[in-house]
Symmetry: D2
């Protein structure tokens, strides 16, 4: 077994405490330091963890015992903080989305390659056992021809004043979609609405067209009475509902489908429905973030490429960019450059 | 009390049996005749009802004892059958949507006016006690400023070979939206996808922009593992979920909202969330179709205008037309002519 | 195919209309007559069905064209009405419970045997496709060793002023239990409470001990905020939840269980749990009462013994009698005579 | 504000880690030491908390800096460990049930009184905000006359090899019932069944009769496919469902009830049902165990009596004793000595 490595966490705001807890509990690394600009946040760190605390990022960068940095700061700072860490020779796990533009994302990939350091993006859902189970079901072709996927990710809060719902919520769904479909969309449309702040969409609807007529739809909002994290996958033979907040049956596989019977020439079709059993596979209960953190450490120790590497992060940013462009044009479709 | 009137039902296919049952059970009218082109369907009528049966529509039109006709035939036939009935001096209740175009719809309104007969469209949800309760909540201003509404109406089947999901499923939601908001949308976008038949969208997403920045979103599909009929209404003070297939709590009123606190000039905002009690008002259990049929008969007897009159039906068709145009243009927004 | 037979329905109160509808719609019989003491109820019959109507039971009995009688009157009248019908040479389907005592029940069995007529009891749940599926799962041994079953059947209303919750609600569960287990219980205990009427238990809890240490528990009440009709079956290998009011997944089969590992002599055990997939078999959607009515007619036509024959009805009454005795003795266990 | 006090945790098995986390996070005390016989468990403590660790209970007792002990060891050890701690001058919070018999419980109360130390029992649900809300609803009389309460607390696991389901699961429900009703039951019956181990009931049903014809029913089991923690409270005017595992709506208040109308003399009653709105009050999200630990520390600091003091713990044990006696006699009712 490899020696445990020392990791620093940068940003102890909304998501940081979850990273701290997991990094602390992992046997393969040590939460050596936490950096945050707010010393009140650091005081909370002190109560829970024996890590060094600092408000000065340079202290982290110059500490040669720290081999990896985990960045959970506001998205606009990702590019600068990540490139500085890479340049200081650290491996980096940065929260999603990787950056504010594909130009930035490409820049980070280059720096990481040049520095020969690992760059990983925190697309947690790709480490989620439920998503893995769905990926397995799609890969083995059990659902027949894939038709379409739609996702709803809504909640009351966390309202953001800089990032809209597209950039702050939809990256989860886009990451899952790209992971499941293993290809970029051809074209993206997006529409949204602003209520609390005229510059920031609280609600966004995104349509994605993938090759082979597969389509997807994403609804992201922080103005909703319920917490919904749901994805429906419609195939010709089977259909899947993935409900991430269900207490029983996060993934349900429906033996349901429709096929067309008849004469194509004369246009006389009949549609036959079948509706059979429902199967709920057992899903491993490991915390996805635990898997993600463990994977980061393992990639460092073994010198392997992370599942959610820089290119993975770039692809999500490319989709976000195209969607943002469509959003500004009231839904006019935008091609995704590949 | 007015004398009972004799009503004929035209079309005993998918929806006709529900109309027959309600017309038969209403004390204010008599199901006098049923017309269908398929004599096997008429044989079923014979088993259940003492009504006259015919495959010849002209027999219905020429029967002077019949004062009203209820039309539940395929939508492309609505225009011809409805105008013939009006011209024959019958009052008409026709299933939704009223017609295949606004030109047709306007034509029917004119004929009805000229013939001084009642023209009513079967937008059942406007007779649904749950929708009435929501209308009441919106009217009394209890939800604060209305932000947005989104609707999901999906199921496995009934797959249609001529009408797409926009024209066959979404009219329900559009009718409810226009009823609740009491205005036409300014602009409509729609995107869809075809899987079973390249000429007919199985799945459609519609975005509607109403005056005062109120927006709405409709998802209609007949390719889905679950039967969902759900509408979420987001206001600044309260939020409502209307789940038409819930066994308990079809309408839930959430005392939830977000408001912005801070200095507009310096752009330093804070968002305050409140999340209080949930209230589930008792909803009257009357069958909406029963209310609708009774309303039709009452309007005839009292000479009053139906809630869902020809103009009401026309407005829904106008929205469908605009959405259809956008659908053909991959989501480019289309203005709704008023 | 046998000729259609003429059936008379006796009692058009709470449950009678459901029987009327099914008898009317069955192709193998004709709802020839309806008898009720209340002429207002008969007026409703007239609106829906072309059957003869009478308030005089003797008219039914003396009508030689009527070969079978379906009795849905208050339970205390079952014995008299059923024996009169059998003596008049009619086949009889009588609602559950068969009679108010095992003595009465045995009397009816004897009369039916002597008259060579079919006596069937309306234990509808034995004709329920969900119960049939569960029976199949138990018979094939898939759940391992059967441990215990518990049932909840509660609702608000129908409050009865003569029969307590044991006699009016619990017969459903007892019938299902005897059907699934294919044996009488050895011993029964029951406790209850009276709130609305000091002579009639609104709430009853029944414990049943079957051979081989299989136990069952029934909770019946008409004072409850929710409509619950639920049965949980616990086996050593699998467990089943049957929720009759669930819209999706009435029967859920859980691959869950506990086994004991270790040394019996030294009492050092470990308990190993397994918790795997959940399977929801498709359940046929036929109305149970339709199946029941069709079965009655078929038994008459083919001269076969009904699934829920007089002996079946007697066994349920024997359990009710024992439970009633325990109820009067505050839960002291009572043996079930076999 | 009082000075923070040093607390030792004894027992770091199943429940201990939850206590450790809460004691660690409370600002009013310090988790100074943890004692467990298993040094592997202590190694886990070391990873998470800066507390002293020991396998020797006497070290805790003789440490004068420790003023309070929290005991989360197997129930049969409660009496000895608690009395030793009290005799050593420590305040004690001991997990439920307080002891294995009312004699033991009374002994502990006496020692605590003599030593002038606080004795508190960990009946967590009395610190649960949902239970507090229900208590408030009952106290203000909003539900009318209280009829009956039934509770289901089942799960797969944790199978116990010494304590049956009555002693290990039902104390929660009994504690809640006594808290809500503010009186001991008059009489208790219990029935159970053993499957995994012939000496230990896996499943128990308890009936409790309280003064004024209020009754309660408890179902406790560790052999179940689902995790259920549910309590239904039936009143004459309103009914409450408390579902502790519901994600939305843990407490639902139903405006439902039945009243009797009519002439008592002639026994001609009619039962009128009303079924109105449902109200879901917002429930504070504080962790009950956090409230409990904070209350313990506060009682020490302020010298006040805990809500769940020794007498409270004794009453629960008295009910358990009576139920155990009935259980051994197959459900024969047993009076509760007061």
């Amino acid at each position: 077994m490899s020696a445990s490595i020392d990791v620093a966490l940068v940003g102890y705001g909304y998501w940081g405490p979850n990273l701290a807890r997991n990094l602390h509990q992992l046997a393969t690394c040590r939460l050596a330091a936490v950096c945050d600009l707010d010393s009140a946040r650091l005081a909370e760190v002190e109560r829970f963890y024996p890590a060094t605390r600092t408000t000065d990022y340079r202290e982290i960068l110059s500490d040669s015992t720290i081999s990896a940095v985990v960045i959970a700061t506001p998205v606009p700072t990702h590019y600068t903080l990540t490139s500085e860490a890479l340049l200081a020779g650290k491996h980096v796990l940065v929260e999603k989305p990787l950056a504010m533009s594909s130009t930035e994302a490409r820049g980070l990939i280059e720096v990481a390659a040049h520095q020969n350091r690992i760059l990983m993006v925190g697309h947690t859902f790709e480490y989620n056992p439920a998503v893995r189970k769905i990926k397995e079901l799609l890969t083995t072709g059990k659902i027949g021809e894939l038709y379409y996927i739609y996702c709803t990710r809504v909640n009351l809060g966390r309202v953001q004043s800089q990032l809209n719902a597209l950039w702050s919520i939809a990256p989860h769904d886009i990451s899952i979609l790209l992971h499941l479909l293993e290809t970029l969309p051809v074209e993206v449309s997006a529409r949204g609405a602003t209520y609390l702040n005229s510059a920031v969409e609280d609600v966004v609807f995104v349509d994605l067209v993938f090759p082979d007529n597969v389509t997807a739809h994403v609804h992201a909002s922080w103005l909703d009475p319920s917490k919904v994290r749901k994805m429906t996958i419609v195939g010709s033979q089977k259909m899947i509902i993935y409900d991430d907040v269900a207490s029983e049956g996060k993934v349900k596989v429906y033996d349901k489908g429709v096929y067309r019977k008849g004469d194509e020439v004369y246009g006389e079709f009949q549609y036959k429905l079948h509706s059979g059993d429902i199967h709920i596979p057992r899903i491993d209960m490991t915390e996805p973030l635990r898997n993600e953190c463990a994977h980061f450490v393992q990639c460092i120790q073994e010198g392997t490429r992370p599942l959610t590497d820089g290119e993975n992060g770039l692809r999500v940013v490319q989709v976000l960019e195209a969607a943002q462009k469509s959003l500004r044009n009231r839904g006019v479709p935008v091609e995704v450059a590949s």
